[in-house]
Symmetry: D2
């Protein structure tokens, strides 16, 4: 049996990732806020813990896979946090998509505790995680430390991409890439509306483009949703997409890089939320483009002239 690692966060991504770790022979100490999701892994051989600290006890590596910066910070610090429990030299392998500033802040905290923080955000939707085909970006620590976590990472993914010692680098790349996915979605949303309104079926243009110049996973997966105008159930919801675009915009503002198309994608996501579409896949900005083009009927609810309020 391989070594035992800790794992905190059993959402749509974390759950299949832990299953792959177990299948590869790792022991896994799991913690999840909703305990039921952890218990479902007992039959696979996981050890269920009552806190992040417990999951980080007596392991060389503890992984976290959580939804945003605040969640990672919250399981790291405090009495029940990872930092408190990690042995000297042990590694916090942070798989979440968070901002590079947060990564740097967390690294400093780990330095003070003689533990190591490595950034390892992953590419792939839940079905890719399940297939163990994630692409994993890695930065922080030193080359030897990063090398030492490859076996853990390769149990969950197909390839590790090394971005060097600067801990924020992997998150910078992840934020840039997710921003580019958002732009690809908006591009297809606009182009498919243009095609449809000019007599070309959405599926016909989708199939041609994604088998030729845009034959890549991001276009194939998201283009299908937009071609079929099918946004439920979501693979990645509107609020999660908005979180990622916001990370890019904040990084742009902090480092003085204008991102005009990020602004457009953000506005579409805001409009989607304004219309109550939080539960849809973020590809539903395809609906915004369709509505703006008059492809969906917009009802004319009369305003009350005096108050400018909806009647």
């Amino acid at each position: 049996m391989a070594e035992t690692v800790g794992f905190v966060g059993l959402g749509a991504m974390g759950l299949p990732m832990v299953k792959n770790l177990l299948a590869a022979g790792f022991g896994v100490r799991v913690y999840n806020r909703t305990r039921a999701r952890a218990e479902a892994l007992i039959d696979n051989g996981a050890t269920v813990c009552d806190s992040a600290a417990e999951a980080a006890t007596d392991v060389r590596v503890v992984c976290t896979m959580l939804s945003d910066d605040a969640a990672v910070e919250s399981v790291t610090v405090g009495d029940d946090g990872i930092l408190n429990a990690l042995a000297p030299g042990a590694i916090h392998l942070s798989l979440s998509t968070i901002g590079p500033e947060t990564a740097r802040r967390l690294m400093t905290l780990h330095d003070l505790h003689d533990s190591v923080y490595l950034a390892a955000p992953v590419y792939g939707r839940p079905e890719v995680a399940q297939a163990g085909k994630l692409n994993i970006l890695l930065s922080g620590g030193d080359a030897a430390t990063r090398e030492s976590v490859h076996p853990v990472l390769l149990a969950m993914g197909q390839k590790v991409w090394d971005f060097g010692d600067e801990v924020g680098a992997a998150n910078v790349v992840k934020v840039c890439g997710n921003f580019m996915i958002g732009v690809a979605i908006e591009a297809m949303a606009e182009a498919f509306a243009l095609a449809e309104k000019n007599g070309v079926s959405r599926l016909a243009i989708y199939e041609m483009l994604t088998q030729t110049i845009f034959a890549s996973p991001a276009y194939v997966a998201y283009g299908k949703l937009i071609a079929e105008q099918q946004y439920l159930p979501p693979g990645f919801t509107v609020p999660l997409g908005q979180k990622d675009i916001t990370l890019a915009q904040e990084l742009g503002k902090r480092s003085n890089v204008p991102l005009p198309i990020a602004g457009i994608v953000q506005d579409k996501l805001i409009a989607a939320r304004a219309k109550g579409r939080d539960e849809m896949d973020w590809a539903c900005i395809g609906l915004e483009a369709a509505e703006a083009a008059g492809l969906r009927q917009v009802s004319h609810v009369p305003f009350d002239d005096k108050t400018s309020k909806r009647t």
Copy 2:
């Protein structure tokens, strides 16, 4: 009695302008494609003509007030056109908002006929025309020729703004100014939606801003429509607004000047047209902002997955 002038084009602007010329003592030879609008001026003392050429006969100055570049070119050339009828040295006073390139082309044609083309686009909606309070921009010819048309112009407007010998200059300014109006509309559309959604009434913010930092005619007039969400009847329709923004964009493309906010305003006007709002005032892009903010209910008409067509 003052001199007799020609006048071609009796739309929402041309009609009150001719009435003011007649009231100021000018004789006016009028021509309009729909003859009934011309005949309505007989009692005011106008002479009704059967063609643009006839209106341009035996006058020192013939005015044209038409909806777009093509219309001005069409009444200028051909057997029944102005050029054919103008005496040597006579002046075509072109009051329409058209592109500077068209103005230069028309000037060249007049040069060849020994007549003069002056650009004199006007600022003011129909009610301003009626009050004789238009602001009139003037360029082309030479200083003496421009001076010679001041009495005609001041019968219709409150002030003449001289932009020199280059015939395109007045149209450049007009196009820039109308583009800026479109931006002011979009700014209020966004800001008033933001205010409303945060509990401030549209009228309250409108009144404060247009009595202080934005106390100017463009904001007062268009802001009222957006505050009251009242876009019918139109003072200036969506297609006319789109024509003006398109003129700015074409000028920008020809002279290599990026105009990012013109692009946004154009997109809002396109969306308004897609939703069947051609008959509304172009301030109705206030509706686009309200809909994008979820302030109006957007109906969810289901798409047929196979065809991507509306069911």
Copy 3:
């Protein structure tokens, strides 16, 4: 002599405002982080204090005029803060431009201390403050409390605009209005570049438009800077402008209102910062438009092909 009030924050705006209070016969207890600026007011009759708390002692009303949300919160709480010193029923009159969320948070704190928080952001650049001609927006508390601060406000401004009991309302309006100023700047930046490149002088179009359809303080003041391409010394710097556009964008994101032109203005301000223009007036986005149009020469510093770094 009228009553004595407290005043915290003696920047470019606060200083002339206190002078006007003193001139109107108010006693003023002043506090400023840099004490020298406070001492300069001794001859005018001000009492210099060593802390915000001291300025808030034994007064019915203490004013704050600071640069951002964090600064207002910091002088409010803590041992040396206003809250600690305010008598029951006394009023914190907050003149700064901050977000409505911050205002609501501060109001809650004051409620707990039996003191009152009123939002009173002001319109006007420093020269307007000096002339006592500010427009002041007011919200929070109840009608009688707001009425009770009118004498204080009218010593500094020409008019008080009442936006009711909801404490965030005045800040919502202020944020919307400042966003609209940013848009007006961008509109002129684009339009004046378009005019210049088509042979019309910036000053000529500026004068015509700001005496007619855009004859309002925002266009007159900022348009002059853009027409003359003169951005030093600043009346309101790039980082301050960016703070205000960011407030609008955050309000938009929180309340689900897309603001496409706010995104464009933000990007221009980011570019200005990237080019080292923090010390300029935020109207310097006129330079961005000029550069994008090739009106200023952009040097071609060669990149090193292998590293993509500047050589």
Copy 4:
């Protein structure tokens, strides 16, 4: 030997396409405005003609491969044009990227002459044309007629994508696809500038993304140029890119489909032209993003305050 076809237009694309036709055993009657380029093909077996009409004589199929709508229309009509020479039932196979409206107009002209117009725009840069790996979109005529040109098309490309009888359909898809390429370029321009400014090398992020989620020809080819900031020699120049984005915008305006990111890409191309970059590949909008982020030094040429002209 296979049949003999006509071919008009021997630019960077046409030349290798004709070579492939000849290599596949077709006879080819070639015409090019600059005759020298045609004569260079004599050794390969081509027959050089003196006009488009001559190239269209005695053939079942004549191909055209030209730079824009006007060029295609000009070789089609007139005494020396294709229409005049085509036998009844013969086919004009139009390989250029033009607007669907132009295609429909040309189809009507061919109908009147009892000849057939087929739209067959191609995907692939010159090196792809050389390798005979183009993807070819096909629409117009009827299924049998389209089937009959497959041998000709497959001598030049790897696959024919059929879009049915509506002649404009292939061009609609081509215009949409090229617009999406422009967006992909802008997305990488922004993202790579963001990465570079945050310490990640352009090549590192390029390699990771184009081997994973964006592993498609459009990203691989254009991303390399942007990662290396190498825009000379061009594969597709700025004015050609601008032509394609303009086709998309005009199609959007005609069919009422807002295309916000097309507007942003257009503005970047306009800025590139304003800075004298017509000879660069249109991927050079990577320079615009770098400059806006301050990654290249922008010189501060002083303006003359009085005239707003460059000194």
